[in-house]
């Protein structure tokens, strides 16, 4: 077995750990979020981007999280597939809806950010397009989970799909950027942070940390839900046979 810390491999220890860890991460998220927003909003309006930079405070973190959540999903899938960790399967299943949620948020805030500049609600910009395809991957993962009756087979099939997604994601990113340079020239987002005035550097960092710990908290809560679901299924089986 891999020498992982006990709370990662043993459901009992994980439930005890997450009982206090989930609210803790939630609190951290709120504190950092408020600090980030307060810092970001008290800075003088950045003249070039005027006010839309304030949307970036809530766009950049979700864009990062949509990828990070998939990385968590894929590594949990690998753990569940190779080392048959039940907890890892619960973690992968729990990460999918959150990742999809953050991807949706990225798309929404991205189009709102660009709207004043583009004049339209959606532009087939390289980053937004690959976010959209990432959303389709989350959808495919959740659809596969939802339509497999046998839990155990469904878990392994989803783990395999999780790994296929991890393999294809960088290829999709590359091909979308290649497609973008072919058809449109420069992308709308001038390579994210670098065009950001230094005064906004810290607020963005704080917001990214806040959102990441929010994800951590939500993920733990959802994994607890998945553990309870598996325990309920086991109890139902026992009751059926008793």
């Amino acid at each position: 077995m891999i020498p992982a810390p006990a709370f990662l491999t043993n459901p009992e220890r994980f439930m005890a750990f997450s009982r206090w860890a989930a609210p803790m991460f939630g609190a951290i998220a709120v504190i950092l979020g408020l600090a980030g927003l307060w810092l970001g909003w008290s800075a003088p309006p950045d003249y070039q981007q005027s006010w839309t930079v304030r949307i970036l405070f809530i766009h950049i973190p979700t864009a990062w999280l949509s990828e990070f959540a998939y990385a968590c999903l894929a590594s949990a899938s690998l753990l569940s597939l190779v080392w048959r960790q039940l907890l890892a399967d619960a973690a992968a299943q729990a990460a999918a809806p959150l990742g999809a949620g953050f991807t949706l948020l990225t798309l929404a805030t991205g189009s709102l950010w660009g709207r004043p500049e583009w004049g339209t609600w959606w532009v087939w910009d390289a980053r937004l397009t690959s976010e959209l395809i990432l959303f389709l991957i989350y959808l495919g993962y959740m659809a596969l989970r939802a339509s497999m009756d046998d839990e155990i087979k469904g878990a392994r099939a989803a783990a395999i799909l999780g790994l296929v997604g991890a393999l294809i994601l960088p290829i999709i990113h590359y091909s979308v950027y290649w497609w973008n340079t072919l058809h449109q020239g420069a992308s709308v987002f001038r390579s994210g942070g670098s065009a950001l005035a230094p005064v906004f550097f810290w607020p963005v960092i704080l917001m990214v940390l806040a959102y990441t710990s929010a994800f951590g908290s939500l993920w733990l809560v959802r994994i607890r839900g998945e553990v309870w679901r598996r325990r309920a299924d086991a109890a139902a089986l026992r009751a059926a046979r008793a």
Partner: protein, 221 residues
Amino acid sequence: MSRFSTLLARETALAWGRGGGPMVSVGFYAGVATLLPLAIGPEPARLAAIAPGAAWVALALASLLSLDRLFERDYEDGALDHLTLSPVPLELTCAAKCFGQWLATGAPLALAAPVAAIALGAPLSLTPLILACALIGGLAFAFTGGIGAALSLGARRGGLLTAVIVLPLFTPPVIFGGGVLSAFLSGLPWTAGFVLLCAYALAFVALGPLFMAAACRNALS
């Protein structure tokens, strides 16, 4: 090696289905290509602009549709058990299935692609290129689609689920193929895109069967 060639012959024959397989796929392809002008309007100028791209997307959809019986038939009637209990590794068997699928329906679709493109207004000069792209792209669609078909074994609504799983895997070949065709028409260099399309197809000819075999073993257990 005789086992593999016998298997490939069987898979191709099954996918060919006495002409039924390609007929259905090409029929669907022609159907989609016919719907487009009905929806967009017959003006040649407007149609010609989207002709190569539309022909390419319709090819991807047609390849997708001819996939759902790739593993399901053998899974349901028990043949997959016997195909697994053999010295030929399951990965190779899955590759043979996808290859047979490509030969029986991918190739005829590739022949139909130039016809559809020209019907929609693409210039005749595009024919050799779209034929080559359709052949290589068909290979990519078959081997990525095979992953979706294997993963959705034993699932409800298998065919539709395969499509939802597989469409993200189709985006790179759709991008590369579409890019090659539009670059060719506007006189830009198109070889880079074509090489990328070939690289993608070969990558999944190599990697796809690994995922398919794992998915089949999971479905059989």
